[in-house]
Amino acid sequence: MQITTNHLKRCDLITLSGRFDSSNAHELQAALRASMDEGVYRIVLDMKDVTFFGSAAIRALVQAYKECRRWNRGDVRLAAIPERITEVLDLAGILPLVQVYDDAVLGVGSF
């Protein structure tokens, strides 16, 4: 599992790779928290290399989504979601509500 944050002009681009389950979802939460603590509420999550995304990771995502969108100050957008993960996010009722892009460049450009 790897999390890399790139601080770009428009937003923070957080690139995720590997497996995200209850053992490490707190690290995802911490990465999102770090951006918000720096005052960055526009975040793109590049999920191209994510192999597993369990409910704990989804909770971390939703928490950050809620906080970033508060007072219209920002948003969390998703990029390059693998098909299996797309299905899971759809099942959780998240997909219709979150902005999704085919790749990170488009995601970043959306801000």
């Binding site: 053992s23 597993f52 369990g54 969108r69 299996r84 009722g93």
Partner: protein, 144 residues
């Protein structure tokens, strides 16, 4: 007819979720499931094991979680057993998917995934204490 049982027994450390995931995925794949179904099984078992580790054992990494897989007819069956505190699944409300994300309560997703991704989920309270959850998925069935 029940086939040979395959079992993995690990401590209740969350780090063992990946091992369990690999084990269950491999067994599901060998049973003839599509990759989509294999992923569903992996997801449901991950949630069931997380519940055992986090709720039944309250985060204590010294407990034991046993995961057993077998075939019963056309069903791939997975049992997750722990000896922790009894967990009442009926007390956990389903997430309300109709509400906007900002208003939604975040809990209940794990059980929700188990029920949606498997064809049946049964909770048993064994005599000796702990929890047993038995999940079934029809090979080549719905959501394949």
């Amino acid at each position: 007819m029940t086939s040979t049982q395959h079992e993995i027994c690990v401590t209740s450390e969350l780090a063992n979720l990946a091992n369990i995931g690999s084990f269950v995925s491999e067994r599901a794949r060998l049973s003839g499931m599509s990759e989509k179904q294999v992923f569903h099984v992996q997801m449901a078992v991950d949630e069931a094991c997380t519940n055992a580790m986090v709720h039944a054992y309250q985060g204590d990494p010294e407990g034991e979680v046993r995961v057993c897989c077998y075939l019963e007819g056309n069903d791939f069956v997975v049992e997750v057993v722990d000896q922790g505190q009894v967990f009442d699944a009926s007390s956990v409300p389903e997430p309300d998917l109709g509400r906007p994300l900002e208003e939604r309560d975040i809990g209940g997703l794990g059980l929700f995934f188990m029920r949606k991704l498997m064809d049946s989920v049964v909770f048993v309270a064994p005599h000796e204490g702990g929890n047993q959850v038995i999940m079934r998925k029809r090979i080549g069935g719905r959501l394949s």
